[in-house]
Symmetry: C2
Subunit: 759 residues, 2 copies
């Protein structure tokens, strides 16, 4: 049976259902201490005192650590280097102290006894205002030194220039500018020009498992961390740098993840490890849901100003855009270059002028979220494209197909696109029966189309395949198990080695012994680590054939692997069972080398695309949008396991519907988070989701394992735009602010004369 | 600075001195239970009852498990399959029950409350008598089924025939026969024929750290064992088979070993894991020293009958020999074929007739010990060669040099010898000033020479070398750290990769993720795993050069690695520092593949040899032998780290002096061990050791890393014979029974008329 292209259940599902999965918080250690965080109650303030005496008097409380107590030796920008507020509080919810006690409940009690005395400052909350010269600063104290990174480099070969010539405030942490051609002239010459201002909120990643880490110091000085991290190696390296430890004295085990979506990297580990290094006892921190929502690193809010035009035939002419990204209070990493790029959509433009500013505010800490900056960009550009189609009386999908970029076209960053399936995705939704139904809908219903794309992350990866003495293949990687990647690895290895899926097992090793793997994010685990697995399995197969060739005295090229046996092609009578051969190879006195393969990969980026059709009903009296039916067509390169791919498409789409209709980390005028629990923060559920049809499009990635490319990020990107376009089709109005809550829709429907920005 | 051939301290020394090494017994687990063993008090008996009630009533005692309680599903021969006596006790000290309690002291108290009621049977103690047809059986119950293994196959390509034509008792567990030529005729035609009967005792390996294992069952069903094992993969496979678990549900971590010498394999793990599987709680067993001496697996006693001749010119003619090996009470594995082979010494024979019988007795359990069967064989043949030299009035070393086998000569097992340095070792001791002094000694002193050899074990191995983000190389193997192998791996990797020693770190990974490595034994770790490390490092180096070649736009072959940098050969101005390059390679967005190499090896055997000079003084009044000076010349192939090699030579020689003069696991006529503590069992110490000079001989092994071969086993083999020959030279008598205690020497000196066998 082929292993590739076959739907099999995720390997991690059954143990998760049985409760047998060992999540990071399940790590049992003798003498374990429990930590809880003291969070700041102001969005912006100077710390005048932190009084810990009462907390320390509570029996069982071991320590209350503040910034000055942490054994951090390295300086740098961002939260990693300042996991506790030092002198200044820059967002409500910022960790100010860590309480460590013999029991979690004790630590929680002690948190209430820690008095944090703050002198409030005006919080900076409006990103556009904050960027202007002279704006009050979100951070009075200078941030620590260090160079920032822009994930655009990694995701999209975007190395944008900046806005060095503009007068900007010191709140602007990073800028990017992508330009080519004469935009003014091109817009002036256009038949139609449309424009808008689009806003998207801070968005919580919404993983099921809150962030958690458990660490301990071994007697030989090794710091061992088990955590809910997407990036074991990066965590190891960061912690070593932070605490001045040799890399080999830090061992990170990334436990199976209960969801992550980009948010689980280096948030809790510095705190827990600092406590361990101070107290020299094992410490665990499990965030509560509210702490996780207030004190981790969700996606930043964005404001996108976009103006674009087309000629009379519907050829796109020029685009001008400015994206303000709310980078929150700590300068961790930027997304300006990719935000600028993604605002242009997956289209060919004759001229473009796109800029982005990352601006500090006193809201949250900025982090990665499933395709950072992609859903906001798509929401803006895809909304305007529908406007444009309306003005041109063109079919919206046809308009997109006329302009969508193909392999070899230059993106706005100036790079030629690799193999790209956006066109095929658009064609697939155009051919879908739902699209044809858009003209026959009852009043109050509408169908919208949109596409989103994601350039795809790249990062080197390696893997080992080891034939064990029981004749089974063990695949060893350093990738955290999430989203079923291990199930995909098994399929890749089984196919490449030539055995059944159940003959392959997967090991996620810790940083001490794992082959290198980058962070499990950027839709690149299956694409990069999977490619390394494929190569490792092919090498192991060759080596098995060499052994069998020696035993059978037949050339390796005349051998095949079938039914768990190595045999001369078509001569099963001479077959050697792998599970009999393996123990002979791996025995005292054996003259055969172990059957192991090692594979490496660093494939170039493989951009993903997903097109959506959204069918909604709008209640003009309440403003409620009810999604009725949704179609998502995604280019996945090759569906290694269609069930898993569909799971990603469904999950991404549902998350996109959350962006569209429900979710918002909202702050009041004091910078206090007002949707900081799951009672206030509305997440999509099965009950709020429509029927979703998945259409798998396969445009093979030349460098992916069996043609596969990343599938995790694309499906979320275009979904909010499709809903917005469906709303416009249903009710003739646009809401340009996400989420499109009933109140916002009702205002739009009720006061159509108002400009969108005023709603 | 070159990394090879340079003496550097063992990496494990400093943490051991500081107490920072994590031995297996240091594994901390919450809820850990402690086990102690109930040992049989008779050497041979039927078990009529095991009364556990009183023990179970002791508060804190969790369980008392007997054979019937263990969840063993697999049948087979040997201790592995029957870790607790079932029905019949076959040696004094055999584990009968395992007591598990909340504290170790409680478990110990409970052991005293377990009543084992035995019906004694006659113990079988005399191996020669036990082999005769009709002899009482050492084991009344039939042993479990299963095929035995003979480690000769692995060590020496010995596949000896057996003694199928002889009438032998059922106590004979295995036989081997090696024959060629007409021995009767050759001996009849010889100028001189000498013969003797030599006996060696049961010998305790004498490691510092007693055997220990800690195991736990993870919530997902994984059985995790940290133990003092030399063989992680074999332990994993054995435990999986024993308990019917999938291999991936057993994870074995071999902790750094506090000595092993062949004895630490699968003795404690089955007991501890059985308890864990029954109780579903973590369990630890740390043997006490007395338990370790009584209930583990020392080297079996031997009786060797040998007769050999030479012509008038001193050419060896024929050898006839019969070796009785005491295999003890459980049928674990045999050494008959290698015992038969080693009795012939490293010499050319015109005819040979060598046989060996492995015989069951009611003493101990048989195990491996640093060069199994080699020291007894050398003691016999080297004693007789000196007798022969005396009869021929030949120089004993010249006689050996005239007959010693060289590369290509056939061994008595019919295999051509690979590259072999025995001749060079003999020449080295002949040239040593000590040898010249033998004619000028005062009365009561003597100098003896002898040589011992070891064919060398082979087993497949693999290794990974990974360049980490700090620019250092991590070497990952599955080999347990003992005898400084990690220090050798570091030297090999540093040399092959081209960096300083301190840029290399070594990881011994557990069985879940380690590249395969066989047992750390048979003098093959550096030879086989080290070879894999060399290849992995070479591959990693090539891959680093590829990356640098791309960066520098220079062909990889024009690059060199020097001073931690990659540079065009001789152009340091263009150098790229590895610690700057590495983080660029291993970063989000990098297009370079990870710099990792994977190496495999399964080299053919590389025989070792070590020649000894022993200078002793004999006190005729007390019989005490005082070693005064000792020289050991050993062919090590290539001394990767001379300090480590010398450490092995010194340690082996001292252990050989223990064989010669001190050590004996002695039983009384009831089969009770009478030297079962370190008070009774005399081990050599610094105080009892003479000045020992080491002479490193380097005859490179063609397939070893940088020419290295195994060095651990050869130095023990010839030492007892050299002392025996020194005694003969000093006092004109031979003691043919080890150890040569004062009483035995005194008897020999006092009653020279007695035949050696009667002393």
């Amino acid at each position: 049976m082929p292993a590739i292209g076959v739907s099999v259940p995720r390997r991690d599902s059954e143990p998760k259902v049985r409760g047998a999965t060992r999540f990071a918080a399940d790590t049992a250690l003798p003498g374990l201490l429990h930590a809880r965080l003291v969070l700041a109650h102001e969005a912006h303030a100077m710390i005048s005192a932190i009084r810990t005496e009462a907390a320390l008097e509570l029996p069982g409380v071991v320590a209350v650590l503040t910034a000055a107590d942490l054994p951090i030796v390295a300086g740098g920008k961002g939260r990693l280097y300042e996991p506790l507020a030092r002198g200044e509080v820059v967002y409500a919810g910022q960790p100010v102290a860590i309480v460590v006690a013999e029991a979690e409940a004790l630590a929680e009690d002690a948190v209430a006894l820690v008095e944090v005395e703050l002198e409030p400052l005006e919080p900076v909350l409006d990103i556009e205002a904050a960027a202007r010269p002279g704006a009050p600063r979100a951070r009075v104290h200078a941030a620590s030194h260090g160079e920032g990174s822009d994930i655009g480099d990694a995701h999209a070969t975007v190395s944008a220039g900046g806005l060095e010539d503009e007068a900007l405030s010191e709140n602007v942490l990073g800028t990017a500018k992508l330009g080519d051609g004469d935009v003014d002239a091109a817009l002036a010459a256009s038949e139609v020009v449309v424009s808008g201002r689009f806003t998207t909120p801070w968005m919580y990643q919404g993983y099921l498992e809150p962030q958690t880490a458990t660490a301990t110091l071994e007697p030989d000085g090794e710091l061992v961390i088990t955590s809910s991290t997407q990036a074991a190696f990066a965590t190891r390296d960061s912690l070593a740098r932070l605490f001045g430890l040799p890399v080999e004295q830090v061992r990170v085990r990334s436990a199976p993840l209960g969801g992550a979506f980009g948010g689980k990297m280096m948030i809790v580990e510095p705190l827990v490890c600092a406590a361990v290094l101070v107290l020299r006892r094992p410490v665990r921190l499990v965030m509560t849901r509210s702490e996780d929502m207030a004190a981790t690193n969700p996606a930043g809010a964005e404001v996108i100003h976009l103006e674009l035009g087309a000629d009379a035939e519907g050829n796109l002419t020029a685009i001008r855009g400015r994206v303000f990204v709310d980078r929150g209070a700590t300068d961790d990493f930027g997304v300006e270059s990719i935000a600028a790029m993604l605002a242009a959509g997956p289209y060919r433009w004759k001229a473009h002028d796109l800029s982005a500013l990352g601006v500090a505010t006193n809201r949250m800490t900025f982090g990665a979220y499933r395709a950072p900056a992609a859903a906001p960009g798509a929401f803006a550009v895809e909304s305007l494209l529908d406007e444009l189609a309306g003005r041109l009386r063109s079919d919206p999908i046809d308009l997109r197909l006329r302009n969508v970029a193909d392999e070899g076209d230059l993106t706005v960053s100036g790079q030629p696109l690799p193999v790209f399936g956006a066109r095929e995705c658009l064609e697939r939704i155009r051919a879908h029966p739902l699209w044809a139904r858009r003209t026959e809908l009852p009043a109050g219903e509408g169908i919208g189309a949109a596409i989103g794309w994601w350039p795809g992350g790249v990062e080197p990866a390696a893997a080992v395949c080891r034939l064990d003495s029981d004749g089974r293949l063990t695949v060893i990687t350093g990738a955290a198990d999430m989203t079923g990647v291990e199930t995909s690895f098994a399929a890749i290895a089984a196919e490449a080695f030539g055995v059944e899926l159940d003959r392959v097992r997967i090991v996620s090793a810790d940083t001490s012994s794992a082959p290198y793997a980058g962070a499990s994010g950027g839709s690149k685990v299956t694409y990069t680590v999977g490619r390394a697995v494929e190569r490792a399995a092919i090498e192991a197969r060759e080596r098995l054939l060499e052994v069998a060739a020696g035993e059978l005295e037949i050339a390796p090229e005349d051998l095949e692997i079938a039914d768990g046996k190595v045999q001369p092609a078509g001569v099963p009578a001479k077959a050697l069972a792998i599970d009999e051969l393996a123990p002979k190879i791996l025995s005292f006195g054996s003259r055969h080398m172990p059957v192991e393969g090692h594979g490496r990969a660093a494939p170039p980026q493989a951009p993903q695309a997903a097109a959506h059709l959204s069918h909604v009903r709008v209640d003009r009296d309440t403003g409620a949008i009810t999604p009725l039916h949704h179609v998502v067509a995604q280019d996945v390169g090759r569906a290694l396991n269609p069930a898993l791919v569909e799971g990603q498409m469904l999950g991404g789409t549902v998350q996109g519907l959350g962006w569209a209709l429900l979710e918002e980390l909202a702050h009041d005028e004091h910078g206090q988070l007002v949707t900081g629990t799951l009672v206030d923060y509305a997440m999509p559920t099965a009950a709020t989701s429509p029927r979703i049809e998945t259409e798998i499009v396969e445009v093979p990635a030349p460098d992916g394992p069996y043609g596969a490319k990343g599938v995790g990020e694309a499906p979320v990107t275009g979904a909010p735009a499709a809903v917005a376009n469906a709303l416009a089709a249903a009710a003739g109005v646009r809401v340009t602010r996400l989420p499109m809550t009933p109140e916002r829709v009702w205002r739009a429907v009720s006061t159509p004369a108002l400009a969108p920005a005023e709603r």
